[in-house]
Symmetry: C2
Subunit: 130 residues, 2 copies
DNA sequence: TCAACTGTACTATTTGTGTTAGTACAGAAG
DNA sequence: CTTCTGTACTAACACAAATAGTACAGTTGA
């Protein structure tokens, strides 16, 4: 995995890194049980503080995306959220609404947006239908 | 328009208010040329600082969503972004990707998401097809 | 003209977040 | 036992977020 950090950006480093890891998992570029770089290794490569990397790993473990085995490293967890379906749906709707809001304000039509959604969807690793 | 602020939230007040105004415009609950509450009035109603409201209005004017007429008040601007189509598309794709990422990580299937998109779309005031 | 509204600009202060730095501790592997 | 792993903690600095207060300028209507 190759991550990259823009220190000039106004979005915090730990957010940038966390989003890149989430995205990599959702797209299948990081598979279940695969190991992530060590805190010290990654911090050296990105030229950021080890604490910042550790913070990201801790946050993602709290979200159930990563599992750390002490002394061994950090690994991608098995998929599956512990939230109720209602909670998961509400969380997703917030993002959907902000997406639609931006789409309208940017002047896109409903047709255009439908097309974007259709095309872009292929880049993600969806769970098989229940 | 009724706005509400959660001071206990970790998201900044000015972000909460800005998002609510953006959303109201995108959904058509705030129509073109309609007037927003004055800085002092709204700050009194929400029990926040006038500066915070002024900051939000300034930001949204910079984004082209609002227009202020000195001495008269702040109004909803005419729709239309000054960005190029490419820039607008890239901006929207960032939001679409984070939506898809969250959807996958929450365990939703492609079918479910397609349905969400279809249903929710009706709540927004889309520009007529070109 | 003047009072009362509008937004704008500025400084000062407080609080919290983001980041780095450094040290120390504990589990796992060879 | 050395060396890797993640964890925990404190200290320090810079910046963002928010409040408070004051002052200025444009618009309206009595």
């Amino acid at each position: 995995m190759d991550f990259n950090i823009d220190v000039a950006s106004r979005t915090p480093i730990y957010r940038q890194l966390a989003e890149q890891i989430r995205s990599a998992i959702a797209r299948g570029r990081l598979q279940e049980n695969s190991r992530l770089p060590s805190v010290r290794d990654l911090s050296r490569r990105l030229v950021i503080n080890p604490n910042t990397v550790a913070r990201v790993y801790t946050e993602l473990e709290r979200d159930g995306l990563l599992v750390t085995r002490h002394g061994l490293g950090v690994f991608v967890a098995s998929p599956g959220s512990d939230l109720t379906r209602k909670a998961r749906r509400e969380r997703l709707m917030l993002l959907l609404d902000s997406f639609f809001t931006e789409a309208v304000l940017l002047g896109f039509t409903a047709e255009e947006v439908r097309e974007f959604v259709q095309d872009r969807s292929a880049q993600f690793q969806w769970q098989a239908g229940v």
